[in-house]
Subunit: 276 residues, 2 copies
């Protein structure tokens, strides 16, 4: 992205904060908003955000690009709120983990021609402005899901923005994105949660686990605010993925019952060669 | 453990090698054996092992304590082989992940009065002598499962040996140990394997996962040589544990189908407070 642009970042948590820091470090001017005034104050006093946006996001039209970095249904609200005000903006994007809903919402409004959904595969076990950092996206994949009517120039801007943050853009249709992520992200998350609850019901505390079990239950500590909307939005695709692992567990249980050494060994070899 | 003892270590892989290194560093004399002659040579040339044992383990009676650090059924073979030769030894222990079988085997032979099974909760994704290190057991739990007829002095020796390596001994009956480990260790391992195979069948490669999914499938890369005998020996207890997570996954799938936001949120909160 060429520098000296004005970028509005709505939501200054881990992801929004990291976008703001990375773009500010390249000499862009950052307009920022967060419903948590302590986060907004911290972003302003760090010098990363140069001007606060008002809660109505009235000044959004001053930006060359807009990043919506709030989670769940709030992103849809922001989209509706800025729809009439973003006419002169060159790009509107978000950073959510599911893309079908937000892209469909953008396609239904005039702002759709500016909209390219983003999903950077980056995170941290901590959250909030304090955990954000300019290099969070370095070498990570970012999925880009343009609205049907998105202009070439909006897509080019989205690519350039993420490349300037060190990420590697991959274009994918919103529905295909959500189907893929059901397997690569949402399934591992729910497996970690199911394991945590099964262990809890068996009376096992996390401190009784070895390093392997601790690794498998780490994701279960994730924020319900972040994950509830993701799970609900992508429920149908996740259902199939959960069925996929249930099938494997049932099969393992069958082999345990028959005590078939060869088949158990073969499954373990198979898993190891996939895990490489 | 008082220093200047003679300790025989049979099997110089990650665990046996680490025991040998830790005890040698305290001034004990280590007799060592490994069926892989390159490992034995490396242990000898490092100075950790001062004398090799012959493949028949003829010289085992020279040791004050014996550590059997080979995996699976091989540990039972070693136990049988040394049974008549270990009369003057003060302690015979092993390091296997399941304890019912080896403790029962020790209880059936005269050597049982010297036998205290051990299971140190330590590991590494690498294996073999090259990966072993003197501090592998620092601050980790080690379960101790004495044979029914084990002498107090054998149990005291076992405690002192592991404490001298920095581990924290916890005494537990062999069957109770295996039932507990089915949940804390064997279940997480099999969940990782089931997830890996489900992802493979869905056409997903490990490189498509984010950091969360990579963490959950790391255990799937474990050695089939190590895990096949563990899984088979503890099959009945593992079956119940696998059923436990299947039940949770089925319940999650039901809530996905009904789209019940409150219940999904409650499950996530529940898992988070356990993982806390």
């Amino acid at each position: 992205m060429s520098t000296q642009q004005t970028v509005a970042v709505v939501g200054l948590g881990l992801i929004g904060g990291s976008v703001a820091r990375g773009l500010a470090a390249q000499g862009n001017r950052i307009l920022g908003y967060d419903s948590n005034s302590a986060s907004l104050d911290a972003a302003l006093s760090s010098g990363v955000v140069t001007r606060p946006l008002s809660p109505t996001l009235e000044e959004i039209g001053d930006a060359d690009s807009v990043i919506i970095a709030v989670y769940g249904d709030s992103a849809l609200d922001v989209l509706q709120r800025i729809n009439a005000k973003a006419e002169d903006v060159g790009l509107v994007t978000d950073v959510g983990s599911t893309k079908r809903g937000i892209v469909a919402a953008a396609e239904a409004v005039p702002l759709g021609r500016l909209f390219v959904g983003s999903h950077p595969l980056a995170g941290d076990h901590r959250s909030g402005w304090a955990a954000s950092r300019a290099d969070l996206f370095a070498n990570e994949t970012v999925y880009l899901c343009p609205a049907r009517q998105a202009s070439d120039s909006a897509l080019t801007r989205a690519r350039e923005l993420w490349i300037s943050l060190g990420a590697k853009p991959v274009e994918i249709e919103a529905g295909a994105h959500d189907d893929l992520l059901a397997w690569t992200s949402h399934l591992p998350h729910l497996v970690s949660i199911a394991l945590a609850i099964a262990l809890e019901e068996a009376g096992i505390s996390r401190s009784q686990l070895g390093p392997g079990g601790r690794g498998l239950t780490r994701l279960a500590g994730g924020s319900p605010d972040v994950w509830t909307p993701i799970i609900l939005e992508n429920a149908a695709a996740i259902e199939s993925a959960v069925e996929g692992i249930e099938r494997q567990l049932m099969m393992i249980r069958k082999f345990l019952r028959t005590g078939d050494r060869e088949i158990i060994r073969e499954r373990l070899e198979n898993a190891r060669s996939w895990a490489g």
